[in-house]
Amino acid sequence: MGVWPKIAIAIIVAEIIVSLFPQLFTKYSSTAIDLSNRLAPPSTQHILGTDSLGRDVFTRLLYAIRYSLAVAALSLAIAFSLGVVLGGLSAIAGGYIDSALSILFNTIYTIPGLFTAAAISIVVGPNVIGASIAIGLSLAPIFYRFSRSAAKEILTKPYIEAAKALGASTSWIITRYIVWELAKPLLTTSIYLLSDAIAFEASLSILGLGVQPPTPTLGNMIAEYREYIFTAPYLLLAPVTVIAITISSLNTLANKLLSNPIEVP
């Protein structure tokens, strides 16, 4: 194993530990406001400075990792499982099932994510779970279309015919062949969509949905610090760097895990 995958693992593990025990790494509270010390530049006291309400940015970042990773992971899991399973099903079953699923996902695709979130908030109220479902639903059509068209292609391959002839079930074909064949491009897409999911969570706050203040998330930190790009540009750097590092680490790991193409019998 090279040095990069090791660093990547270290970063991911560190992030998981931080999300589980953020209080171990800071002496501040993520929500304690100090109006007399607003927008302080980085110093030994506050290594990333303080935000517009005088809160320690480093502390907020630690807590934000927890909330954002949870939302992003949950929503991607929803998007991935819905999209890939139903996409595969669509390709294999064809006919009416394919048409119905296409219409369903086209509808989700047409309705903007903000509206999906609004609809879910009407039912479950504005909270983290609702936000995750909304983000997951609106990202699902990407996976659906991708795996449907790729699965169609795979289905023309001789070994699938062979498997079918040997009596393999539909779900077996989906999991064994389609998911594995598409693992790499799907994983790559998911990892990149992670940053979309995080940014999307922030855009939900336009309608007052999603995570409510003063709880920090990477998304709402970005949305807030964006307005200080001319006065305190270093603020924006902190959450953006975390997102960038997370994505590249996950990507490195995915590359490593999938570098040996899976042999299909």
Binding site: I33, S36, I206, Q212, P214, E227, F230, T231
Partner: protein
């Protein structure tokens, strides 16, 4: 095989079409702006000093193009250049006063009848001359459907204050009142009672104007185009009856993001920026821009639902619990005046009271006395203003410190209005009324008034307002005003926070800008050098 042939024709066609379209688009939309726009504006500015154009970046979009439906700051800023009322609000030595505008002279004939003589040299943007019939139709429409006009021209029980408008001749009208009403003149200065041509007022008798072609006023500028969410363009009206403005073309850029507004002036795309955040002032000054800091009338408050928190001691306790000095000094960097009155002191007859000083132990004591312990309150805040969301978090911390648990709920602006002012479904809510007169500001808190989101109700207060309206003696009226304000101050249907200053930044070559406390720019003498 047949399908293959069809594809062979269609696909290359599609590809070629897309390519051609993109080449065309690149050519059409990316290249010319740089080539044509810059020299054009530069040359017009050099040739004629008087026909300068001005671009103003504003933070909110218009909510309507109908002046009588105007509500937000942007509506009055933009449509206020297009329309005029019978009277006008002017700022004189830091105090507001009301002067005749479309009216040449007026006279109170008796307790309930007023004669207005209208200027005979005023033209609408469609070329028609202003006459008494336009005034009658506009005022009647305002009383009928204008959201604010209904408030201004009706009494507490919802009956119209003006019972009849009699046209004597083409330039004279008599307003016959149902009963004496002293705030009449100041209310006729509000733009919700702006004058429009009679045929347009009648065309839109039961709904808002919905065509830019029908946006016709008597103001110094006429509306050229309006692109919702993007910009509004105005041009000078050449037959304006008053002093012609020196600006020939006025562009309002709608930029809700504060960093986009800063970028617009730093990069030179805008000449004036309205709604500058206090945190950006130093940055703008260091870039050589001029920053205006004007007193504002917007009172930022935390409304307390009086049905859910009926005990005034609890509401007073919340006032003691919040350190408004710290908020004004730190969160707003001194660009705010701590509220020691219920209405901005720029209006005549406003009194300041003994401040609710920051006193945690007093607050705790009052809460204990009232038995208000272990309570959770939901604090509603509109997503429209990021500053309000920050403020909400500061308020939360102050109230938690005295033992009131607060949960913040961000709500989209329209949903916020619905929940606060229609459904009254909130415990605490942050907003900031911007009144045009003292009397109007006080009617917010009248029992069953539509602006009375917190459902405050005090019969003594209501009676005082009625007395003020009918009291003709000025000094007695001042005493009644004082009494009403005192009641409101101590009943505390809100945490009175601060009056927000208006911060406007301009390029150094923009001169003669005046700012009204309603965050309205007066461009009468503005020049671009």
């Amino acid at each position: 095989m047949e399908m293959r042939k069809t594809f062979k024709v269609i696909v290359p066609l599609v590809v070629v079409a897309i390519l051609l379209l993109s080449i065309f688009l690149v050519y059409e939309y990316l290249l010319p702006p740089r080539a044509t726009q810059t020299p054009a504006t530069a040359s017009t500015q050099e040739l004629q000093g008087t026909s300068a154009s001005l671009t103003i970046a504003i933070p909110t979009d218009l909510s309507t193009i109908d002046i009588q439906f105007a509500q937000g700051v942007a509506d009055f800023e933009v449509l206020g250049k297009v329309y005029e009322s019978l009277f006008r609000i002017v700022l004189d030595n830091g105090r507001l006063s009301y002067v005749p505008w479309l009216v040449k002279s007026y006279k109170q004939i008796n307790e309930t009848a007023w004669l207005f003589v209208i200027r005979d040299n005023v033209y609408f943007h469609n070329g028609k001359r202003l006459d008494a019939w336009d005034v009658k139709a506009s005022l009647e429409r305002s009383m009928r459907i204008s959201p604010i006009g209904r408030m201004l021209l009706r009494d507490s029980s919802g009956n119209p204050i003006i019972s009849r408008i009699a046209v004597l001749n083409s330039t004279a009208v008599v307003l016959v009142l149902a009963k004496p009403f002293t705030p009449l003149i100041e209310n006729l200065a509000h733009l919700a009672t702006a004058i429009m041509p009679r045929d347009i007022a009648e065309k839109y008798w039961s709904g808002p104007i919905n065509s830019t072609a029908d946006v016709i006023g008597t103001g110094p500028f006429k509306l050229v185009s309006y692109e919702k969410g993007s910009k509004a363009i105005l041009s000078r009206f050449d037959r304006y009856w008053g002093n012609a403005p020196r600006i020939s073309r006025l562009t309002y850029l709608i930029l809700p993001s504060s960093s986009a507004r800063i970028a617009s002036i730093l990069s030179g795309s805008a000449d004036v920026v309205v709604g500058v955040s206090p945190d950006d002032v130093a940055r703008l000054k260091s870039s050589g821009l001029v920053v205006y800091n004007a007193t504002g009338v917007r009172l930022v408050l935390v409304a307390i639902n009086c049905k859910r928190v009926p005990d005034p001691r609890v509401r007073q306790a919340m006032n003691y619990a919040v350190d408004r000095e710290a908020i004004a000094k730190n969160l707003l960097k001194g660009f705010a005046v701590v509220a020691n009155s219920v209405v901005s002191p720029v209006f005549p007859n406003v009194y300041t009271f003994k401040a609710y000083e920051y006193n945690v132990s007093k607050a705790v004591e009052l809460l204990r006395e009232a038995g208000f312990t272990n309570k959770t309150l939901r604090l509603l805040v509109s997503t429209r203003s990021p500053k309000d969301v920050q403020l909400a978090q500061a308020i939360q911390q102050y109230l938690v410190a005295v033992g009131i648990n607060v949960v913040i709920e961000q709500v989209e602006h329209t949903a916020f209005l619905k929940r606060v002012f229609t459904d009254h479904d909130f415990d605490l809510a942050i907003y900031g009324p911007s009144p045009s007169s003292l009397y109007y500001a006080l009617t917010y808190w009248r029992t069953n008034a539509s602006l009375n989101g917190p459902l405050y109700s005090n019969p003594v207060y209501d009676r005082l307002l009625d007395e003020i309206a009918s009291e003709l003696n000025e000094s007695r009226r001042a005493l009644l005003y004082r009494e009403a304000q005192q009641i409101l101050w101590s009943d505390a249907p809100a945490i009175w926070l601060y009056f927000e200053n208006i911060i406007v930044a301009t390029k150094p070559n923009v001169k003669g800008l005046q700012i009204l406390p309603f965050q309205m720019l007066v461009l009468d003498n503005t020049t671009v050098e």
